[in-house]
Amino acid sequence: MKRSKSKYLQCSLGFRPRALALSLAMMLGLLSGNVLLAQEEAEENEPLRTRMSLSAVQGDEDMATCKALVRAKIDGRYTGIPGLEVVFFSITDSLEQELGRATTGMDGIASLRLPKAKLLADTSGAFPIMAIFEGNEEFGDSDDEITITPASIALEAMEEDSSRTVTATLESMGEPVAETDIYFYVKGLYRPLRVGEGTTDEEGMVSIDFPMDLPGGPEGNVEVLVRLEDDSDFGTVEANVSKAWGTPKLMAGDSPPRELWSPSPPLWLLLTFITLLLIIWGHYLEVIYKLFKLRKKAAEN
């Protein structure tokens, strides 16, 4: 301790001349530095340019979710910006209608879930959507637009003769969609696990053999998620169904075992511990009691 302290002292003394030289050098550079600084400050006042990417997910029950990711380049990396208000519009040639507003979350995504019926369709039946971030003091404005064709996946999960089949049917405006890649997932705590994929046939159908041994979530439910991902026409289309195909892990009244590592000790250990203490302390008390008696008796005499 003492040694290292003196070493520190030596060092800081030893390097003081160098620090002084450095300070001088900085003083000389101060003038030119000021100019640079002024420029930098001016730049800082300008709002940061942002980028938006809009996507849409068509889910169950004729609902759609519009997702607008707003990013800005911070320290050389595009980072999602939280806390920005994004306005979503439905825009056709003739009409323009505000769908709603949403604020971006920690990941920079603002999402708005609404019934598809609320979306305005253009002449071909597709939904043109636009999202706008109007900008504020710090972040510049940005917008993005997409057009999605309505589509939906019907999902059927069956179990028979110790085999499980999941069948997905993709259709758009009443017509089956063929030759499209569909992915099958099981929802997990963090990310979904892909369990199969396939291409739709003439009838828009694709089925996979579902694994028999997936244990599912805590309640024993396997949540099957089927997706058409980022399609140029349809955006993302998904459907999910929950099946009690797993094994439940939640046992009612689960109390921790009596182990060395658990809060409650093994019984034999507790008993031994208490017995030993009782024997010894009992003995002490007897001796101390006798001493008191000795004193009392002497007093009586």
Binding site: A72, M106, P192, W261, S262
Partner: protein
Amino acid sequence: MSESSENGRRDFLKKGALGVTLAAWGQLVFSCAPEGGHDHAAAEGADTVKVLTPDGQLVEVDQSHLRHVHHTQDISYEESRTGLPGRKFVMVIDLARCTNARKCVTACQKMHHLPPDKEWLTVKLMKDSEDSEPYWFPKTCYHCDNPPCVKVCPVDATFKRQDGLVLVDNTRCIGCKFCMTACPYSTRVFNWGERGEPADMKTHRANAETSIPGQVGTVEKCDFCPDMARMGQLPDCVVACPNGAFYFGDQNEDIVTNGSETVRFTELIAERAGYRYGEELGTEPRVYYLPPTDRIFPAEKGLEELPEESRKLYEDLF
């Protein structure tokens, strides 16, 4: 060896002195530079970056104050002791992908407000025998199912939850360090002095799930970020790894993910011959390793990121 580390220390002091001078000038020139009470903070005083606050405000801060906050949902004491119902967390570390990029270490330090010299997660260079190739070995807490550290705790400060995690309640810990001697993997670290967290962290209510704020005189360690799990978010090391070396998930649902790849835990372990470190010790770790076969980079590459004095420590392993 000791001489070289002394040189390292001197170098550090040199840099420190330089930094302090810089910072002093920085304060003159940039009137906005923050007051640096800490040497480290002062050393980096001139270095500011733009960051986002959780409510989306862009602010310019001193780099040394650049800390992401672990947001804890307000959970009860009982919940923090029993864990996430029905879960059993497990980690798989792919040694073939570890190049000692040390992003996991710095992310962990950043997210848990640890000073630069305190590592809950370390990356070691291992060499199993004379002729075998060295490889990088990230070491988290193994959250053992038969944890020797929990066994010896006299006050129930470190405990094993039903979701498999071994955590430390730093409001309970008396700092006897018995758990540190009991852990054969040297996972636990002690707050020998103040942690030097940003002042606003001190107001946080201490919680066994985050060990924030750190308490002087208590033990702490890698906690597998259970507060993140409650929000469905992966631990910081998993997200930070540029090579996807860390897989994390719930063993009960048999799914692990490194963020981009999601696989079945049993299949991954079976296909890649996963193993647990120190199996013979009977601790039953919850962390599995995939052997460093077909590595993406030679181990030497991992030295590039290291400062000179640390690099010397590994030289005789090559």
